[in-house]
């Protein structure tokens, strides 16, 4: 009976600001880290690997066109990035000296829009930002995820880890419980993957569109009936950094195809 009295007591302590993240949370052993694509059906995986059939390449192609097109007030991306941006996406999110904060790939691209092209930032999830992000991400296809969480990125990484390990929503579930503690099990028609971001932006059959990692995170938060964060929210960027560090070494797959 003691246990129940204890549980009630804890419930009565007003703990509004900082819900506790799990202590001593388990981690997936490095050799067990696998991409979400291995949990897909053979057909979906084939679709991803076929550059002509994979619908994500529509966005990559649009992105390539935008990359070469000069905007009204500035130079085209390609003017300054003639050699391309091969391998760059695999290192994002990353701390940016000029911005003084951690930027994800979308944020980094928008930083060039604003500071180098004198154009307004593209809106999150706009066709333009999705397309150019997919084009840049695709130049890292097959490269190992390799983000750096040392120095000024450390605190952001930790904030992302805390978000990942905190229970939330009406269902009171954490990302950790689904993606670290129960991956491989069936959640209705889905097999739970380890929740990596290496395939994003990804084409999701359910969306019938390409979408950013933040769109996927919002879906997961909505799934536990939590209030999702806004697109581009610094805390989602922190989660993105944590996810990337957790999957360091995994091959980049954007544009991946997902269920």
């Amino acid at each position: 009976m003691k246990r129940f009295a204890g549980a009630t007591l804890i419930a009565l302590i007003p703990a509004c600001s900082a819900p506790p993240a799990a202590e001593n949370a388990t981690e997936i052993a490095a050799e067990d880290i696998v991409s979400g694509s291995i949990f897909l059906t053979a057909e979906t995986r084939d679709l991803q690997e076929d550059n002509f059939a994979n619908p994500g390449y529509l966005w990559v192609d649009r992105g390539e066109a935008l990359f070469s097109k000069a905007p009204a007030s500035g130079e085209a991306c390609i003017t300054c990035h003639e050699a391309g941006l091969s391998g760059v996406a695999a290192t994002y999110p990353a701390y940016d000296e000029k911005a003084g904060r951690v930027l994800n790939l979308e944020g980094r691209i928008n930083q060039c829009r604003v500071t180098h092209q004198s154009e307004p930032a593209w809106e999150y999830e706009s066709e333009e930002l999705l397309s150019v992000t997919a084009f840049v991400a695709n130049q890292s296809l097959g490269a190992p995820v390799s983000v750096d969480v040392s120095g000024p990125a450390q605190d952001i990484y930790e904030a992302g880890r805390d978000y990942f390990q905190t229970r939330r929503g009406q269902f009171n579930l954490s990302c950790q419980q689904c993606h670290t503690e129960n991956w491989g099990k069936r959640l209705r028609g889905d097999t739970l993957s380890q929740g990596h971001g290496n395939g994003f932006p990804a084409y999701r059959l359910e969306w019938e569109s390409l979408g950013s990692l933040h769109r996927r995170l919002r879906d997961c938060d909505l799934g536990v009936r939590a209030e999702p964060l806004p697109y581009g929210d610094p805390l989602y960027v922190a989660v993105e950094l944590f996810l990337a560090a957790r999957s360091n070494g995994l091959e980049m797959e954007s544009p991946a195809v997902r269920r």
């Binding site: 246990r3 419930a11 009171n172 069936r186 938060d221 009936r225």
Partner: protein, 152 residues
């Protein structure tokens, strides 16, 4: 109400930390809530519908019951085909209402609870996933999942 007052209420209702528990400690005996939560007895047929339906209980997201007319049942939680042989109505009631009172850290969501939750979607704030009557309906359905059950 003062502006500060309104703000305080907003903050409190947004996190649910100060909501009183729906289940009072003195109704819990061992690992069971022996008394039904409502006067109206649970309805087995409603219970089965709630167990399956996506917008209500949707327990098959994580559980399987053999013979149910539902594709793709989950296996994150234990198979409940014969759960009535393992657990009494009172034990089922507590586990559905708030499993974390049986086992802190349990993954099983708490279906009749509003306290101490975080970042709850606005549309669901201050509400439990299931009503007391719905919990009773599911208890009635699950307690009959027995090898020798009358409607097995």
């Amino acid at each position: 109400m003062s502006r500060v007052g309104i703000l305080a209420v907003l903050i409190i209702s947004a996190c649910g930390a100060q909501e009183a528990p729906l289940i009072r400690a003195n109704t819990i005996l061992g690992d069971a809530i022996t008394q039904p939560l409502t006067e109206t007895a649970g309805d087995t047929i409603r219970g089965e519908q709630l167990f399956v339906s996506r917008n209500e209980g949707h327990c098959i997201l994580c559980h399987q019951v053999d013979g149910l007319d539902a594709e793709f049942q989950g296996d994150v939680g234990p198979d409940l085909t014969l759960v009535g042989d393992r657990l009494s109505a009172g034990q089922l009631r507590l586990r559905i209402a708030d499993y974390q009172l049986v086992q802190p850290g349990a993954l099983m969501p708490s279906y009749y609870r509003i306290h101490d939750l975080h970042q709850v979607g606005e549309a669901y704030s201050g509400e439990s996933v299931l009503s007391a009557q719905q919990v009773e309906d599911i208890v009635a359905y699950l307690v009959e999942r027995r090898a020798s059950g009358d409607d097995a």
